[in-house]
Amino acid sequence: MGFEKFGKFGYVSQTKVASIISFLEKDQLPATCCRKCKTLHFPPRADCQHCRSNSLDWVLLEGNCTLVTFTEVHFAPPQFQAEAPYVLGLAELNESLRVFAPVDPKLDRKMLKSGMKLVLRVTHGAGDSLFYQLESVKLSRTGK
């Protein structure tokens, strides 16, 4: 239980990696790292598919990344219609892992370009929901 807090609207409540929530609550971005083969997993996994080990440690990511692609969603699922249009992005973290995340609504969509530098940061949403989003490098430095 507890994982339903993840995202703007959580569909899944039960998972072995539900403790991601306690990291997000501290504004930390956690991945898991396989103790055996050292593969880094993000989003975090409870099981390593390479060596089939379930001994993984939580490690923190910095969040620096490069935008790969994006879209502005106008036609949205029911739970998201109030905030449409909103932008979703795919970015490559410096750790060579990819992240799928919403783009900070404060970022001007016209400024978005594949290849631009962004930062993944934790955000507190409506209620007690928690997630991460892609933010401008500049905005992140000055805080919110």
């Binding site: 994982f3 993840f6 995202g7 703007k8 609207f9 959580g10 569909y11 899944v12 998972t15 993000f42 989003p43 790969v68 692609t69 994006f70 879209t71 502005e72 969603v73 106008h74 036609f75 949205a76 699922p77 029911p78 739970q79 998201f80 905030e83 449409a84 249009p85 909103y86 979703l88 795919l90 892992l97 990819r98 992240v99 799928f100 995340a101 919403p102 370009k113 594949s114 290849g115 997630f131």
Partner: protein, 381 residues
């Protein structure tokens, strides 16, 4: 293994018919086409994306309604690629010797769901743990590939519109298509935004419909059919469901390339040998990516192939000359079989106004869901 009979219902908003009745239309059409005794069919593979069906485990009711009890039946689900995977399943059933003649029935009833229900289902099309909680949609995933292709190769919204214009033009000559009216580039460009850069007319529509293939082993085929179409190549591949799990510049579907490689190898052909293709144009941009992924042109050159009219009737590789998903509509479970229906008609020279000259080798490519599955099938006359 050969396809000895094909059937197709009218696609569209079929408020006159239930799921089982749509399946019957296509099945009956296929039985008449194959001129085979229904009692000779020793199994059925019912293909649908069952989350859209009111009926749980629809193979049960479909086999009953078609009169195929007590022979084996079961459901095959691979989202939008269900019935293309159904053909592969039939291949395994037949080449193992377990079955001689099998009915592959692709069927879907989507329009009786409320738009709320459809949107809710669409919201869970991606990875429900890590991506759906951000408000993903089916068009949004494909739109991200479109953004990447535009950014890397300079592909334009007008290029994408040309796909819809081409396919709607052919759809207007296909009596089974949902949309019978051609559209102009301006109309596509002015249609409302769904998920940038994809607009309404860049997207296929949910539909009701069914398509059926009667397949048989070589021995039965030689005995029963005077115009068989042979299954020469089968490719099926998978890709991570999570977009974040995929690599590369997002201008190509690795899953399609892998499926195509397997199908070309099995059929012992090259892309240039293909006389016509049915590709998965769930979105206009997807068709452009498919030209490249199937090897009809080089990466980034899809728009050029389209602009030179090479993918039209009379071109070097006619694509979706039945209207594709963009004109026919997309009754998810029926789409794969519908593509194969078109190839069979073409390879037999029965496609009337839409006939491709001297078509001997046809290729169908069907993508499942947001690109977790891709199927490439090669048929030979």
């Amino acid at each position: 293994m050969a396809i000895i009979g094909v059937g197709h219902s009218k696609f569209g908003k079929r408020s006159d018919a239930s799921l089982r009745e749509l399946a019957f239309e296509a099945y009956n059409d296929a039985i008449n086409d194959a001129e085979v005794e229904p009692s000779k069919i020793d199994g059925s593979v019912v293909c649908s994306a069952t989350h859209y069906d009111k009926q749980r485990s629809p193979a049960g009711v479909v086999a009953e309604y078609l009169g195929l009890n007590p022979e084996p039946t079961f459901n095959v689900e691979a989202a939008c690629a269900s019935s293309a995977v159904g053909l592969r399943t039939a291949w395994a059933l037949i080449s193992s010797g377990l079955h001689d003649i099998v009915a592959v029935v692709g069927v879907q009833k989507m329009t009786e769901l409320s738009s709320e229900e459809i949107q809710e289902l669409m919201g869970r099309a991606g990875d429900v743990m890590w991506e759906s909680p951000f408000g993903t949609t089916m068009p949004a995933y494909y739109a991200m590939y479109a953004t990447a292709h535009m950014s890397r190769y300079g592909t334009t919204e007008e290029d994408m519109a040309l796909v819809t214009v081409k396919n709607r033009k052919y759809g207007s000559k296909n009596p089974n298509a949902m949309f019978q009216k051609p559209v102009t580039v301006e109309e596509v460009l002015k249609s409302r935004m769904v998920s940038s850069p994809l607009k309404l007319f860049d997207c296929c529509a949910n539909a009701d419909g069914a398509a059926c293939l009667i397949v048989a082993n070589s021995e039965k085929t030689k005995k029963l059919s005077d115009r068989p179409v042979w299954v020469a190549g089968l490719g099926l591949a998978s890709s991570p469901m999570a977009l974040a799990g995929r690599r590369g510049p997002m201008t190509t579907f690795e899953v399609s390339k892998n499926a195509a490689k397997a199908a070309y190898e099995m059929a012992r052909i090259k892309p240039a040998d293909v006389d016509l293709a049915e590709v998965h144009d769930s979105f206009s941009m997807t068709e452009i990516l498919n030209y490249e992924d199937l090897g009809f042109t080089k990466p980034g050159r899809g728009p050029k192939l389209l602009r030179k009219h090479e993918t039209e009737l009379g071109g070097s590789i006619p694509v979706n000359v039945d209207g594709g998903l963009l004109a026919k509509g997309h009754p998810v479970g029926a789409t794969g079989a519908s593509q194969l229906f078109t190839l069979v008609k073409q390879l037999r020279g029965e496609a009337r106004d839409l006939q491709v000259d001297r078509a001997k080798i046809g290729l169908a490519q069907n993508i499942g869901g947001i690109g977790m599955y891709a199927v490439v099938t090669v048929l030979k006359a």
